[in-house]
Symmetry: C2
Subunit: 229 residues, 2 copies
Amino acid sequence: MIEYSSQPHYLVAVDCIVFGFDGTQLKLLLVRRGLEPEINQWSLIGGFVGAGESPDQAAIRVLKKNTGLEGIYLEQFQVYGEPERDPIERTLSVAYFALIDINKYQTQLNSDFYAEWFPINDKPKLIFDHDTMVTDARKKLRYKAALHPILFELLPKKFTLPQLQILFEEVNDSKIDTRNFTRKINSTGLLVRLEEKDRSGSKKGAYYFKLDGKKYRSNFQQILQLIPG
Amino acid sequence: MIEYSSQPHYLVAVDCIVFGFDGTQLKLLLVRRGLEPEINQWSLIGGFVGAGESPDQAAIRVLKKNTGLEGIYLEQFQVYGEPERDPIERTLSVAYFALIDINKYQTQLNSDFYAEWFPINDKPKLIFDHDTMVTDARKKLRYKAALHPILFELLPKKFTLPQLQILFEEVNDSKIDTRNFTRKINSTGLLVRLEEKDRSGSKKGAYYFKLDGKKYRSNFQQILQLIPG
DNA sequence: GCAAAAGTGTTTCGAATACACCCATGA
DNA sequence: TCATGGGTGTATTCGAAACACTTTTGC
């Protein structure tokens, strides 16, 4: 029957759709590609899966290298494997979406990697099928965020409810009623209000909140209804 | 920087977790592996991704070959890529779960492939990491079935409500209240009641239903609450 | 007439929605 | 004092869940 030896072998890569949130807009971290073909074109953060590592490990490594960050929220969501997707040589790509605290990133940034944040609605054209990946990742993020409290991963340790709501609105691409949103978020029991206020956005100031880590981790798999509709 | 040429190449396979339902139990289609290593051991249905095909196409091809069926519900759900998962040579596997009408399968079966249905709770040990794949697929199926009407794919064209309910209970591994279940399913508007009754299960007989194909396809992406809790 | 499965209706509760005003403060 | 954004409460509706009896028919 079939034997291993006669079977074709392929390159395997990982590509990460890295989401960030600057308080107003959902953003995407892109890099200028460092190798041919399409050198210097904008691309997702990615790399080949090395001999000793799993795709998950490769994604972690590649993210660390490009953002300086570890412990990032990462989710594998789709394999892209059309035979012709890479014009040079057949390459399969395991796609991940990553959620990172954009502020953490900025402080650790060094300029070795030509990475740049783009508003997700105003990004350059990307190489290969990366535009499709972004579209798919966004859909997936929306789906997941409607049911699970993952968006907190995009915020700093301390954040305000208005910030949180804007983030949900951005991801879901729709307006949310503040009173209902507040009640829903509070009813999850995931948030702890701090004494401190953020006075940067208004005169009155908005209370900071932080995640209740224990409840966050235990509620994580539970299905919630976080976005209206 | 990195060049394609220096990068390692791997075998890429697909593996399908094929679910079926015989009216009582959730079942799994397994085959005896036809090549070394672990020849003759039970394994998921799988095969290598050929040079001219995508993983999705490979999965379709492999399923056709092993079940005789086309147009099967297929969903890619995870890549398994630990370096040591195949002891002979590094192989990444793209895992799919498939839902098939077990009756259709039986009529088209020919005995070229040593395939056999096993109750999902009473299956033999599988090769490599296939047991893990099954566990993961089951979890995924449960998750998806709680929100989307995919379980109809496991039933014949005509089916009864008691059958449907047992299926939901099997997948979810819990009892469901018949009255609430009926109301919930009816409220989706997906079912059409036929005149005919199935008298095999009881003296009174249970009405057959069929899917309203149009509504099924249009409701498919919508999030529903099909399983209690 | 009785056993065995199919089918149906009501009440209760909680969650989701729609909706509008007061609060705190810096300028 | 007023403009700006932050914060809160209520009534209504809808869906989810809990719960038990009647129907059909073959034996």
